[in-house]
């Protein structure tokens, strides 16, 4: 028994990593198979519940349309996310520079986070009509709060002793910010950015649902109004894949920018 354990351990984290990937994948495939079997055996109408095979066919059969709408949604998402990050970093940094500003604005920032953006999107539609800008605004609004608040909190979490140490050497406030506060805030910033990344595509899709001529959101509405259920599922798959890839991008960025943090978290 002991020997067996040792050999498993000796294979190292690589094999465990595969296990962490293979196990959920097997469960996923199993669920898909059950779904397909249920559709085949029950004879349920396809407009009510299409099977996975039908969905994949719809996905592949409409690949040009899928691509056409995805490009729109993805560009809205990326521009909105970029604006949210730029404005969020700016505001979090400015309010960190002064105790008075922080005290005045931070509670408001936290409070506005509770405003449901889904409800604000129609208002933005009135102001901005149904163009590209409208969707970018919705995405930026959705992503702005997690980014700003996580960075503002990150600045607060800096180790006071490190700041004191820098001060004792005669370091300037700018040096202390660049060498201590900013890197110390990165982990918190990235956890906010991860949340923003998962919300971002949803923001664009909601914006498009309210009114658009192009994009996965309006494509989804049209498909559902035509009871093209297999296509609706296919679009959901595409939206999920988009969200996943943006999340993965943020994750890779985090690993590049904070190698120390991830080495510490999973010492491989």
């Amino acid at each position: 028994m002991k020997n067996w354990r040792n050999t498993v351990k000796k294979r190292g984290p690589g094999s465990e990593g595969w296990q962490a990937f293979l196990l959920p994948l097997s469960v996923f495939l199993l669920l898909i198979t059950i779904w397909q079997l249920f559709v085949n055996l029950s004879g349920i109408e396809e407009w009510l519940l299409p099977g996975p095979i039908a969905i994949i066919e719809a996905l592949w059969g409409n690949r040009d349309l899928m691509w056409y709408h995805s490009v729109q949604t993805l560009s809205e998402t990326l521009v909105g996310l970029a604006i949210a990050v730029a404005v969020g970093v700016l505001i979090a940094t400015v309010i960190e520079s002064s105790e008075l500003l922080r005290k005045s604005f931070y509670p408001l920032l936290v409070a506005t986070q509770t405003v449901p953006i889904v409800a604000v999107a129609p208002l933005l539609f009135i102001w901005l009509s149904y163009g590209f800008t409208h969707k970018v605004f919705v995405v930026a609004l959705v992503c702005f709060f997690p980014v700003t608040i996580s960075l503002a909190d990150g600045y607060r979490m800096v180790d006071r002793d490190m700041v004191r140490y820098m001060t004792s050497m005669g370091a300037s406030p700018v040096q202390i910010f660049r060498m201590v506060k900013l890197p110390a805030a990165l982990p918190s910033f990235f956890s906010g950015l991860r949340i923003a990344a998962t919300y971002s595509v949803m923001g664009a899709v909601i914006g498009e649902m309210i009114g658009a001529s192009r994009g996965l959101g309006i494509f989804l509405i049209r498909a559902s109004q035509s009871y093209l259920t297999d296509r609706v599922f296919a679009i959901i798959v595409v939206i999920t894949l988009l969200s996943l890839s943006i999340y993965a991008f943020v994750e890779i960025l985090a690993r590049v920018m904070m190698p120390w943090y991830h080495k510490q978290k999973d010492p491989a």
Binding site: D161, M162, M166, T167, M179, M258, K263
Partner: protein, 267 residues
């Protein structure tokens, strides 16, 4: 005579959170360190040792008195002395090499040149194989070495060490003390070490100031005339033990005078 570092009649009080109550942390403290001398402050917790180091480092201002470096006042001025904080405070996002160059970067040295300079010093500090390691990968002793090298690279000829080995286990601590002695004999800085370990103070110092509990003041000053080089086994010498007795006597005396209530509780 002009001392390297001189603390003259320094007093420091703090206002507590409870309204109006003022706590005296240091009450008329005077001490001096000659060039190249190793001096320790020994005292119980809360005797204001760290408060004193903060003031010498310019992090806080004394209510009264003066602090002189080479005869010139440095009160509330930062960057005159090398200061090694109690916690190693290494930056987790920097490798050991990039951690130790922080003081150089603060002084405006470019990263590349700073790295070259520090890289040449790593072997002397026993850190050559850890240049690219992050602090969390190192043992407590190695982290303190890195912290010490970082302090050394502040390049001031007075070093303040605030209980540098307090968090280490006994064996590592002993090794680090011997190591620090060797380093000090090579570099010949004036050192002010704060510790609450009597053995550590005796082993390392030329002179020891014994502090009383709060309000902190100098109870006595003891010269340690044990010949160098010393080693861990020096602590078994009769001269060492007699000095230790004297030190402990002062510390116990100081405590019993300051805490009469507690003394009554223990029959």
């Amino acid at each position: 005579m002009i001392y390297k570092l001189e603390v003259r009649h320094v007093k420091k009080t703090f206002a507590t959170r409870q309204e109006g109550e003022i706590v005296t942390a240091l009450q008329d403290v005077s001490l001096s360190i000659r060039d190249g001398e190793f001096v320790s402050i020994v005292g119980p917790s809360g005797c204001g040792k760290s408060t004193l180091l903060d003031m010498i480092a310019g992090l806080s201002v004394p209510d009264d008195g003066d602090i002189l470096l080479n005869g010139t006042s440095i009160v509330s001025e930062k960057g005159h002395v090398s200061y090694m904080p109690q916690k190693d405070s290494l930056f987790p996002w920097r490798t050991i090499l990039d951690n130790v160059i922080v003081p150089l970067q603060v002084q405006g040295v470019r990263k590349k040149e700073a790295r070259q300079e520090a890289l040449a010093l790593l072997p002397d500090f026993g850190l050559e194989q850890f240049a690219d390691h992050y602090p969390f990968m190192l043992s407590g002793g190695m982290r303190q070495r890195a912290s010490f090298l970082r302090t050394y690279l502040q390049k001031k000829d007075v070093m303040l060490l605030d209980e540098p080995f307090a968090s280490l286990d006994a064996l590592t601590r002993m090794k680090m003390q011997e190591w620090l002695m060797k380093m000090w004999q090579t570099f010949q800085h004036a050192v002010l070490l704060v510790t609450h370990s009597v053995d550590e103070a005796l082993l390392l110092s030329d002179r020891i100031y014994v502090f009383s509990p709060r309000p902190g003041r100098v109870l006595t000053e003891i010269s340690v005339d044990i010949p160098r080089p010393r080693a861990a086994r020096t602590s078994a010498d009769p001269s060492f033990t007699s000095l230790k007795k004297e030190l402990l006597h002062w510390l116990e005396d100081g405590i019993s005078h300051e805490a009469p209530v507690r003394k009554k509780q223990i029959p």
